[in-house]
């Protein structure tokens, strides 16, 4: 294997298992005598359950049992990362298309599916809240049972679950030469990981073992311990590397149900969702942003006045955090003297929205950046120049009193402009757009790891980050290799088992290189210190006379390799160096977000399109993303993530949206009619550029990355289309039909 230092594109750890088909994902793991679960759900959004007739199912050969709410404690246990609102299974109502109300357990997947189809549910469809307007309408039914909302909640009689008021300065007394007032919408889209969620559980000792495609195993562990009234130490979560997560596998969904079934039956059970069920289980929070943005004649941003509505879904999941964290940065990466943002998190009878790469920032950036382009057009200022005027410089505040800008964002913008050929003459029907997006990283959290230097000098690193494609295994292995001077192929990484691996807060928020990376570096330094102590003892010298450089130790003029030193130290009786490393961010209880962001992830997108003006169809000629990453520990890994994020951004920009009918049913449920980008949808030229100024808090000055590439995709392409066609579109996705409608059609109504 090649070099191990930082900034080296070392080959992916775990790559050969994946390319040969040997990698075991959650649905691949052999579990002896496992039973299979299939879910029962209704074909509409909101319904009252009147009677569940399981007799047809139970009679099918191979079906063992059908579980309903009757088999669970009463009142039904509830859970959720913000509010404990989600029932383990639906009881008297279903609140979203796909909410399970029964689970069939059988000896085979086929029998379970047959059983599920045979369960008859007498139900009555109820009026549902399926759009932002529905949610705001005081006449609409309440999605959340009022008994579940606290008595002193002033919003309890509405579908507004939470409201935030952000702001500084005085918007009303701020003068502006031009005020741009527009409304933008961002649709419901779903994660569509190629691996559908998979869950299994089996009684283990007087506790439980759980397998899940989960991104945050420790959070799941805590939730299950609480629901089952077990000590955390009796809940073991196996977390195989997920086949894509993107936030959709972050928080518990059907693990509680599967676990309770396993405990009830005393046998292992497994549930693998169909792709359609994953669309029903997870999505991004959709939004409507009503923005009034004030500018001076020379393009300076002076105020933002916003009403922002985010539609969360039937249960809050982590959506309140998505909303608060993104809307708090009401001006994105820009400096502005006055902001007033009224932000509402709305309940609806739809799939609960959850974390999704970007965590609210793509939605916010769509609004903020579209306004910047509108101002550029109104003031006849170049879109690059108007951004250069307003971007915060390093050290300048964006939200007063909070972490200032921690990157040279102008540099990223200028690189993007240069790469896309900004200012060069355009062919007819062509247009260019450029955009900057900002997302705040983790504000608090903790990562722990255990590092063992074994007595032959090989290393075992035990760390709970989840590798779902971003290459965490490689990065952490590189850090050990770099710091200890041990070749990568002699480092083994143990992940994915809460019984063995110490606590990690989460794999999210692009935090792992910074948090777990720092914990790993901490562990390496402690290991080195311990080794030096032991070597000093062994040689009867003081520890100052023991000098460690990666891969070797010099004592008393003599130089030893790591294995030689260890052999010395553990000569007669074997042993190992074993230390823990940690990195904690305690956050700040007084901060509205629980703490300042540890860093900002900023990315710039520039795009050139070529439009067929008669049909609205368009091609992406060039697509550039520039990511401000601090330091790329593995440049190839960072670039591939950035390109991947760009492609995902193309998805919600060009073609993805969940379509609901008047019954709250997802109409385009499945791969046939929910379109994501394919090989043939790629831009003619796509390039990812990394800016490395060493200005991040992680090892080597690293920041996190992996989310930036999709923050600013939509406004960049919309601006390019606008230049090419003269029309301005404020809703996504920018399908050929929508572009044609904007240019030629009548008004066929807005989607939400």
């Amino acid at each position: 294997m090649s070099g191990s230092g930082l900034g080296i594109s070392a080959p992916r750890v775990g790559g050969s298992e994946r390319v040969t088909g040997a990698q075991s994902f959650a649905a691949d793991i052999a579990i002896e005598d496992v039973l299979h679960v299939a879910l029962v759900h209704l074909d509409c959004g909101h319904a009252a359950i009147e009677e569940i007739d399981t007799s047809g199912a139970v009679g099918i050969e191979g079906v063992i049992r059908v579980f309903t709410a009757k088999d669970l404690p009463d009142p039904v246990p509830r859970f959720g990362p913000r509010f404990a609102d989600r029932p383990v299974i639906a009881t008297v109502e279903t609140k979203y298309h796909g909410e399970p109300l029964a689970a069939v357990v059988a000896v085979s997947k086929e029998a379970a599916a047959e059983g599920a189809a045979a369960v008859q549910v007498r139900h009555k469809e109820l009026p549902g809240v399926y759009s932002i307007d529905d949610a705001l309408d005081p006449e609409s039914p309440l999605v959340v049972d009022p008994a579940l909302r606290s008595g002193d909640d002033p919003l309890a009689g509405s579908n507004v679950r939470q409201r935030w008021d952000w702001g500084w300065g005085d918007v009303d007394s701020t003068e502006a030469d031009v005020v741009i007032e527009e409304t933008y919408t961002f649709p419901m889209v779903t994660h569509f990981s190629i691996e559908p969620h998979a869950f299994a559980a089996a009684p283990e000792g007087n506790g439980i073992a759980v397998w899940s495609s989960i991104q945050h195993p420790y959070f799941l562990q805590g939730t299950l311990a609480s629901l089952l009234d077990l000590p955390i130490s009796k809940v073991r979560v196996h977390a195989p590397d997920p086949g894509g997560g993107f936030g959709g596998k972050g928080f518990p969904k059907y693990e509680p149900l599967v676990t309770m079934i396993a405990l009830e039956l005393g046998r292992p059970v497994r549930l693998v969702l169909t792709l359609e069920e994953t669309f029903q289980a997870v999505r991004r929070t959709n939004a409507r942003l009503q923005l009034r943005t004030g500018f001076t004649r020379d393009g300076r941003l002076v105020f933002i006045d916003a009403i922002e509505d985010f539609m969360m879904g039937a249960y809050a999941d982590i959506a309140p955090r998505v909303i608060s964290k993104s809307s708090y940065f009401a001006a994105g990466p820009y400096k502005v003297g006055a902001v007033r943002a009224v932000v509402r998190g709305l309940m609806s009878h739809t799939t609960p929205s959850t974390a999704f790469r970007g965590f609210g920032a793509p939605q916010m950036t769509w609004g903020i950046e579209s306004q910047m382009d509108a101002a550029a057009r109104a003031l006849k200022i170049d879109p690059v120049d108007i951004r250069l005027v307003n971007l915060a410089r390093p050290g300048e505040e964006i939200v007063p009193g909070d972490r200032p800008a921690d990157g040279d964002w102008r540099q990223a913008l200028n690189i993007a402009a240069e790469k896309v050929g900004w200012g060069e003459p355009l062919l007819p029907g062509h247009g260019r757009g450029i955009s900057v997006g900002l997302k705040a990283s983790a504000t608090a959290g903790a990562s722990y790891c255990i590092l063992r230097i074994l007595h032959d000098g090989s290393v075992s690193l035990i760390a709970g980050t989840s590798d779902m494609g971003q290459g965490a295994r490689t990065i952490l292995t590189q850090l050990v290799s770099e710091n200890l001077g041990v070749p990568m192929e002699r480092v083994t990484l143990v992940m994915g088992d809460t019984a063995v691996v110490p606590f990690d807060y989460s794999t999210s928020a692009s935090r792992s290189t910074v948090f777990m990376g720092s914990a790993v570096v901490d562990a390496c330094q402690k290991a080195i210190a311990d080794l030096r102590d032991k070597a000093a003892d062994q040689h009867h010298v003081s520890v100052e006379d023991v000098v460690f450089t990666p891969g070797q130790v010099s004592v008393d003029g003599a130089v030893y390799t790591l294995p030689e030193v260890l052999n010395d130290v553990f000569g007669a009786v074997p042993g190992e160096i074993i230390v823990t490393g940690s990195q904690r961010g305690e956050g700040d209880a007084n901060h509205p977000l629980g703490g300042a962001a540890s860093f900002y992830e900023v990315s710039c997108t520039a795009s050139e399109v070529s439009v067929d003006l008669e049909t609205g169809d368009f091609e992406l000629v060039k697509h550039i993303t520039v990511a401000d990453v601090g330091r790329a520990i593995n440049p190839q890994h960072v670039e591939m993530q950035d390109e991947g994020a760009a492609v995902m951004g193309l998805g919600h920009t060009l073609m993805e949206h969940l379509i609901l009918d008047e019954h709250g049913r997802i109409v385009n449920l499945g791969a046939l009619d929910y379109r994501i980008p394919t090989f043939k949808d790629m831009p003619s030229t796509m390039e990812s550029v990394l800016v490395e100024n060493g200005d991040g808090p992680g090892p080597g000055g690293a920041k996190g990355s992996g989310e930036g590439g999709l923050l600013a995709t939509s406004p960049a392409i919309a601006a390019a289309l606008s230049e090419a066609t003269g029309v301005v579109i404020k809703d996504l996705p920018l399908t050929p039909e929508r572009v044609w409608q904007a240019m030629h059609g009548g008004d066929e109504g807005r989607e939400q």
Binding site: R18, V19, S193, I194, E195, P196, G243, G244, M640, E643
Partner: protein, 159 residues
């Protein structure tokens, strides 16, 4: 009504196997659960994503849309059969090019790309995109997967 099983005999990765299957079992289900070869994946189960791609009688197919009983007397190659005697140049190329992220789509990609290179040993980039257009990657690795196939083929435009 319950399934009536029958025995089928087919060649899997070069070995003759006899398996009992019910008529409604798909080739994908048989390979994954009866033969315990879990490399091929289930995602959409309706021929839209390519994660289940296998080679059936020399042609790449979506194994979720083939009934196991249809393969009596046939030859199939799964990802486990490719590189069984050591990684192929294509597989090495995937690793070298950084084409692998979460890895879930990769077995299907490798099988489809292997079949493509059998048919067109030196494809152009559009031919690679067309040949793999039935394989979805949500991690968005298309650019590098394409580059990996081109590099393995030594084709025009390989980096």
């Amino acid at each position: 009504m319950s399934p009536i099983e029958s025995a089928i005999t087919l060649t899997v990765n070069g070995s003759r196997r006899t398996v009992r299957v019910s008529p409604s079992t798909t080739l994908l289900e048989m390979v994954r659960s009866r033969l315990e070869l879990t490399g091929a994946k289930e995602c959409c189960a309706e021929g839209e994503c390519g994660a289940c791609t296998m080679i059936l009688d020399d042609e790449p197919v979506n194994s979720c849309l083939v009934l196991a009983v249809e393969t009596d007397g046939s030859e199939i190659t799964t990802i486990e059969g490719i590189g069984a005697a050591g990684m192929t140049p294509l597989q090495e190329s995937f690793l070298a090019t950084g084409a692998i992220q979460c890895g879930f789509c990769i077995p299907g990609m490798v099988v489809a790309a292997t079949a493509l290179l059998e048919r067109i040993p030196r494809p152009t980039e559009p031919e690679v995109r067309e040949g793999l257009s039935g394989n979805l990657c949500r991690c968005g690795g298309y650019k590098r997967i394409c580059a990996a196939v081109m590099a393995a083929a030594g084709g025009a435009g390989a980096p």
